[in-house]
């Protein structure tokens, strides 16, 4: 072996850098968990904030985030899955397809704050929804749409071609073939993709900054047209604009931890679903 010492050094450095990153990630998690855990108790997640968030709980922020997530998925899932089915199974118009793909790539690259501006201009102002769950969900839906389409299309394409041929040859119409012989097997991939999309939607601040988020709402929202509190925005305000920011670290850490647990929990759920379905349908 030539240059054994040099090789060993390079290997060592590569390993070192890699595990340094692992350590950094680990430390971030550790820091948040260590400082946030003490704040986590039943009161924290189930009561309203008092004194502008310096005391009390973050219940409305959790509820708000959940509302936004549900709203986002309700809009983006059908559109995303539908678009993916079209791209994977129909897609016979060359130019139109290229256009759609270009649109998806473009959407995937739009900065989150620009989505916020877009949501403000279209949903809040032009459509007249005002800052509301509706405006926020629609904006977030636009943002996660590419993620859902890409994940869904991948899971559709993973279904072997033979299934389609066999199904059609037995006399199924195209939609019947898709419904009975492709969707059931690609469902898990679509669910995984959607959950990842939800995770992103739950954690984003910039798009909701301008379209829905409020900091201190005394009541829970009553309709889609209400504003709402949300975890990411709550954390942001608590940490940067609260007059007592220095003294309410535990509230901030608690909020950060809840948000982190939510997002990581969703990712974990997605992975578990994927593994479960992988075992069920093998081909």
């Amino acid at each position: 072996m030539k240059n054994n010492a040099a090789d060993k050094f390079i290997l060592f450095s590569l390993r070192f850098i890699t595990y340094a990153i692992v350590l950094v990630v680990g430390y971030i998690l550790f820091d948040i968990i260590k400082n946030g855990a003490p704040a986590l108790n039943w009161q924290f997640v189930s009561t309203f904030p008092r004194r502008s968030g310096a005391e009390g709980g973050i219940f409305p922020a959790i509820v708000g985030t959940l509302y936004l997530v549900v709203g986002t998925i309700a809009v983006s899932l059908p559109l995303g899955v539908g678009g993916a089915i079209y791209l994977a199974e129909y897609a016979d118009q060359g130019r139109f397809n290229t256009l759609i793909r270009l649109a998806i790539i473009t959407l995937a690259g739009v900065p989150s704050i620009v989505f916020g501006l877009f949501g403000l201009g279209l949903f809040v102002l032009f459509c007249g929804f005002g800052p509301s769950i509706l405006a926020g969900s629609l904006t977030l839906a636009c943002m996660v749409l590419p993620t859902i389409i890409v994940a869904s299309e991948e899971s559709l394409r993973a279904v072997p071609k033979g299934f389609r041929d066999a199904s059609l040859a037995l006399g199924a119409t195209k939609w019947e073939m898709i419904r009975t012989n492709i969707l059931p097997y690609s469902l898990s991939g679509m669910i995984t993709g959607s959950i990842l999309g939800i995770g992103r939607a739950a954690g984003e601040t910039a798009p909701i900054l301008l379209t829905v988020a409020a900091f201190y709402l005394p009541r829970l929202p009553k309709s889609f047209f209400d504003q709402v509190m949300a975890l990411p925005y709550h954390l942001y305000i608590l940490a940067t604009q609260h007059p007592e920011a220095d003294r309410i670290r535990h509230m901030q850490y608690g909020t950060a931890l809840v948000l982190l647990l939510l997002v990581l929990g969703l990712s974990l759920g997605a992975i578990l679903i994927r593994t479960h379905f992988r075992k069920k349908f093998r081909w």
């Binding site: 090789d7 990630v25 473009t106 739009v110 032009f126 901030q252 997002v263």
Partner: protein, 295 residues
């Protein structure tokens, strides 16, 4: 036959629905451009686009307002450049380790960590940056505040690293076995093969990954908003406080009167951001496409 007719009608209907669903992505992109320009438009006439070329960004002032995006562009550029300086070497080296050197068991352990890093919300990272990284930078360099471009860059690299690692890893893994085998058969060591054959072959994919990473970094809002200090000045010093384009929009939009010139200027910043990320995306796709053909 009624059943058959029903089936065919359903078939046609579903096709229509699916086409509509697919078209929404195109529709949304058009709407984004449309509405950004709609809100920003009037600025072009009064006071005129050349105002964006001013050297200062002082949108609220008792004397004269300036809407020069220069300082903001430089803020974004500085932070991005610093971030990339840190990110690219680290990401590529880690990608090499994961793709070429790590044992399968190690890989199963490492990949989730990268995914976790990718899923951490930016506001949480910003918060961590505020409480841990900023004081660190402050003590390390003896500054009056830890809210600097450097701090922002460090956080941004944490966000870009997972993206670039996973895309670079894909690129490395797709290098055909035939090339690696040929090199090994000629007597090269595993490491020599990696650096002389695999890495160059994967370069287009890695370059595309970096471009997408840059796009992600330029577009990031919350983390930089919380830690870069928010002072809109033109500077090249990593230890200075700066303001990025994204942070400007996020910070000032909340208090700006609707339809005012300041409001429109903020939308223009959005348009510039969109243009930059769009261009980066297209170039990255071109590179990826060319790479696909090279296989």
């Amino acid at each position: 036959m009624s059943r058959s007719r029903k089936l065919h009608i359903t078939d046609k209907l579903m096709r229509l629905l699916l086409v509509s669903a697919a078209s929404t992505s195109v529709l949304i992109v058009c709407l984004i451009f449309l509405f950004l320009f709609k809100e920003a438009g009037p600025f072009a006439f009064k006071p005129g686009l050349e105002k964006l070329l001013d050297s200062q960004w002082i949108p609220v002032s008792f004397q004269e307002e300036h809407f020069g995006v220069g300082p903001l562009l430089s803020g974004s550029a500085l932070v991005t450049a610093l971030a990339m300086l840190v990110t690219v070497p680290i990401s590529v080296l880690v990608a090499i380790y994961i793709a070429e050197i790590a044992r399968p068991a190690e890989r199963e352990f490492l990949k989730p960590f990268i995914e976790i890093l990718a899923s951490i919300p930016s506001v949480v990272l910003g918060f961590f940056g505020l409480l841990v990284v900023a004081p660190l930078v402050k003590t390390l360099f003896g500054l009056s505040t830890g809210l600097t471009a450097l701090t922002g860059a460090l956080l941004l690299s944490l966000m870009a690293i997972p993206t670039i690692i996973s895309l670079s890893e894909d690129a490395l893994v797709s290098v055909p076995y035939a090339l690696k085998n040929a090199s090994l058969a000629l007597g090269a060591s595993h490491l020599q093969t990696i650096f002389r054959v695999t890495l160059p072959a994967a370069l287009p994919g890695i370059v595309a990954a970096v471009m997408l990473g840059i796009g992600r970094v330029i577009g990031e809002t919350m983390a930089v908003l919380m830690v870069t200090g928010n002072s809109a000045i033109l500077t090249f010093s990593p230890l200075a406080s700066v303001r990025t384009m994204t942070a400007t929009i996020a910070a000032e939009m909340g208090e700006v009167p609707f339809g005012s010139i300041h409001y429109q200027a903020l939308f223009w910043i959005g348009i510039i951001l969109l243009g930059i990320t769009f261009a980066l995306n297209i170039i990255a796709q071109r590179v990826l496409k060319k790479y696909g053909m090279m296989k």
